[in-house]
Assembly symmetry: C2
Homo-oligomer: 146 residues x 2
């Protein structure tokens, strides 16, 4: 899975400048994305997602399947309004690992005391403008073999 039979590296290199720029913008998009999960004000959250999330991007996790920016604005509102989760926050806990137009990063849902309640990873995709087009989240550590 490590080596390339040839040609791909040259291709990546040819698009290197655009790739670097899209990746830089992606990193800013991710900051806005994580801030959106912690922003109780609808308008402020919408602004974070406007800087991060394409209009038709999809968010999926084990309990959600949400298409579109405005739908995610509302989905996060429901998460933040959950009476059992008051004082909780979503914190990114790893660097972002990027190749081609895909990425992964680790996050934690932390309780009011900062303890980790749920760890998770997000897989995502982004476009040439560095805007997120898809995130698929997974909860918990990787499961052991049965």
């Amino acid at each position: 899975m490590c080596r390339d039979a040839g040609g791909i590296m040259a291709q990546s290199s040819a698009g290197g400048e655009a790739a670097a720029s899209a990746e830089e913008t992606l990193r800013r998009s991710l900051e806005h994305y994580v801030q959106a999960w912690n922003e109780p004000d609808d308008d402020a959250r919408r602004q974070h997602l406007a800087a991060a999330w394409t209009e038709n991007a999809t968010y999926t996790d084990p309990s959600a399947d949400v298409r579109g920016r405005e739908a995610l604005v509302r989905h996060i509102a429901g998460f933040l309004a959950d009476p059992e989760l008051q004082g909780f926050s979503i914190v990114r806990v790893t660097d972002v690992d990027v190749h081609h137009r895909s990425f992964r990063f680790g996050w934690e849902m932390q309780g009011p005391d900062g303890q980790t309640v749920t760890p998770g990873i997000d897989y995502g995709e982004f476009n040439d403008e560095g805007m997120i087009t898809k995130i698929v989240g997974f909860f918990g550590p990787m499961a052991a073999l049965p």
Copy 2:
């Protein structure tokens, strides 16, 4: 990221039987997929991928971007022919974590003595028949925050 504002669980439940069947088939597809990475015979590897990989599925990792089943048959041939990797194997080391039509699992590239050379995770997607339509691989552990 944990709660759903409503409706999604009912939707999942309505498609429960088909979902279970596709997920069962996906697990068999993944066995064939991992076997393909360890199969030096072109025809046998092609048969494993015929049972796992749609004709136009995509495989991407930090050094590869391969579209189509036959292209993956050839890409793996290049990997297996690498003189520096003789005696190496790809081993799945976690259970498969599935939701909606997405999954993740952990794997290792192991040297001839069984020691881990490279750990990694694969993110993937599958169709209603349980066939893989996309895998995006990431190498190494999650990167620490800068």
